[in-house]
Symmetry: C2
Subunit: 428 residues, 2 copies
């Protein structure tokens, strides 16, 4: 048995032990993880300083980006937030064993559908080592085994964080419940284990997500792209349009929920449209138009509508009406988040009903598409997939269900012989 297979098996088996703990013990375990990190600050700081130092060299040699390196440091304030966040996850209401449906099937036969852990998760993340304890806490809360793979820049920080968490697991669950791998080859091997691992969650660049989606049969929760749209409808208020467009594009251009394409209805291209375009231009945003918008606004006619700029740049297109806007979004979008700006309630409703993206907004910035902002507590990720979980995903995305049936010797033969009959009464 290969070593990664052993790691995956240990996570699956450990998850089963974890799932059988009482809610109180799982909660206590999480508080122990938080306290362990709190007490381990000096160990974390030492390892992190070494990672930061060696990464600085990689940045100067050009083998790693400055943006990636910037996410590496773990100052005391970040540890504070981590510790507080995990105590908060510990105090969340118990997510396991919730009765989602309950039906009496007939005399003496009771069916329940209850929330359950998925089983064993593989989470692959880049650079940010504070992701490790956050993810581990969510897996522990939801009763799942976990295999983690961090970035090579953060290898020392990750080892210490992982060691501190593992120490806190004892004696309730085996140390292997949360596994850590470091080599890329191990990830490739893990991605083959579709009978053992139940869900892969990549947290990182679109390239990472796409690579994983294309190299595994394990279901992947995530999003490779965020090509988000803001659509200025004929009834868009010019002031609101400018505010939303600037926020959606420039609040944090590298975010997946930032606007990449601005769709302007022809009727308002000289009013709300021009005002928004001018505001973007003055804010230093590079604009890429279709032929019509290039002509109207004097910008380059070089838009590629499938591009996620992730920067101070945007595509602009002029559309004839709402249906054309929806068609554009369906043709070029990534199914992440789209927003209509309008005072026309009817048009807004039609937009929200017609666009089949994970998030559809009316008069709000696309930047609200986020688990924290949605009030989900900790965020597992944002999914543009259409099954299981969609859009910003909280701890619910780490759960599945099981059916429990309790009887008194009931058989299907008794139904056929007329000795017992179905009489369904859905109670929950």
């Amino acid at each position: 048995m290969s070593s990664v297979r052993a790691i995956a098996l240990a996570a699956r088996d450990g998850g089963r032990v974890l799932a059988r703990l009482s809610s109180e013990r799982r909660t206590a375990l999480l508080h122990r993880v938080a306290s362990g990190l709190d007490a381990g600050r000096s160990r974390i700081a030492e390892a992190n300083a070494a990672d930061v130092e060696s990464t600085a060299k990689m940045v100067s040699s050009g083998s790693i980006s400055a943006a990636l390196a910037a996410r590496l440091p773990l100052p005391d304030t970040k540890i504070d937030a981590l510790v507080q966040g995990i105590h908060a996850i510990a105090d969340q209401p118990e997510p396991l064993g919730k009765v989602l449906r309950a039906t009496t099937l007939g005399d003496g036969l009771e069916l329940e559908q209850v929330s359950s852990p998925i089983g064993a998760l593989l989470v692959i993340f880049e650079s940010r080592p504070d992701a490790l304890p956050q993810i581990a806490a969510l897996a522990l809360r939801s009763g799942n085994g976990l295999v983690l793979k961090g970035g090579r820049e953060a290898v020392r920080s990750n080892r210490v964080l992982h060691a501190l968490i593992t120490e806190a697991l004892s004696p309730d669950v085996p140390a292997g419940t949360i596994g850590l791998v470091e080599a890329r080859a191990e990830v490739s091997a893990l991605l083959e284990l579709d009978g053992l691992l139940d869900l892969v969650i990549p947290r990182g660049s679109g390239a990472l997500v796409k690579h994983i989606q294309q190299n595994t049969r394990i279901p992947v929760l995530g999003h490779a792209e965020g090509v988000c749209h803001v659509y200025l409808h004929a009834d868009a208020d010019p002031e609101m349009a400018e505010k939303i467009v600037l926020d959606a594009k420039l609040d944090y251009p590298a975010a997946c929920n930032a606007m990449e394409t601005l769709l302007i209805e022809r009727a308002v291209c000289e009013t709300a449209g021009r005002r928004a375009v001018e505001a973007l231009r003055q804010a230093g945003c590079v604009l890429h138009g279709d032929i019509e918008s290039a002509h109207v606004y004097g910008i380059a006619a070089d838009a590629h509508f499938r591009t996620e700029y992730g920067d101070r740049a945007a595509s602009i297109a002029i559309v004839s009406d709402l249906d054309a806007a929806v068609s554009h979004i369906h043709q070029y979008g990534s199914g992440h988040t789209e927003s209509i700006v309008t005072h026309d309630e009817h048009a807004a409703r039609r937009f929200l009903d017609s666009v089949d993206s994970a998030c559809v907004f009316h008069n709000a910035s696309t930047r609200f598409a986020d688990g924290y902002r949605f009030g989900l507590g900790a965020e597992v990720g944002i999914s543009t997939g259409r099954i299981h979980a969609r859009g910003p995903v909280g701890v619910d995305g780490l759960l599945t269900t099981r059916w429990r049936l309790r009887g008194g010797g009931h058989t299907v033969g008794a139904v056929k012989s007329g000795d017992w009959a179905f009489d369904w009464q859905q109670r929950v």
Copy 2:
């Protein structure tokens, strides 16, 4: 563009039109489908007779199994059931647009999570042509586009059923909303379209399901195997044990929810165990034991515990206690359905909590694991996957969710500048 790509695109686009219809119009459309099938009986009968005739030749030449051929005929009684079933699906409560969660994020910013169609489905089924209208009705009810691939034996029946359904779609939704393909090569091409098709549902043999799982990146809803267990605990009532074991194995041995392995706790191997084993033997069931059970009951010591016999045959193992039974199930089972027979409530609870199969039963036959018996209405399939939907799946398995956010010009920048603040109030 290849023709299958065009078929898939038409299904996706048609699904979008379907999803935007009012609930009343979708309901009326479904009633029209049912009435259309009712009125088309003679066309169906003619095509089906031709299929039955040509299949009879394939059976005599050995190129098709008699079991498969037996599922082909569509007598008037089956059409009656179909018509009635589709009227019932039409009258089900609207599954789309249900508000699953609603949160006020802060002053004037309202978030809702609503049930939505998945998008475009691919359903592959064998032989039974009555599956076609059933599946089409479920897709229509849930607002999904659909591509169907039926068995070659039923090609004429499927064509007529598909034509009758397509006629009933007009004028509300395009004819391509429900597509039909016939050639195997087309299925291979469709399985490549993971950007266009959102879910594959294979309805047929385990070999079919396994083949599809191994040849697509589209999520697959189904089960390749049903290796179900009945476990006779130390406190099993011998009479109840016999009743449940006989029903679980022999009510319909070819079903995926039939028992394949009987686990007997050592403490009752001479009482409840022997009685159940004798009853199986007398009913003509071939028994395959582990070494101990072979010795105790005088049966062959040739059990392969991963085998799904699908016939009047079963594996037998003697286990030391509940933990050993759970370990056996986790090691050899397929995660479908397992049942404990016991009068010990504490042991039953522990079994239901520990076994992580889709269905876990206490004192009931495994044969109850079925969408109809669970009271889900029409069954989409039984899933042994761990994400999205698990166990018997009703129309809910064809749904996903979307997030809708309504504001009044809200920006994330306003949070940062202190002009607006989150104040989450979950309402639903």
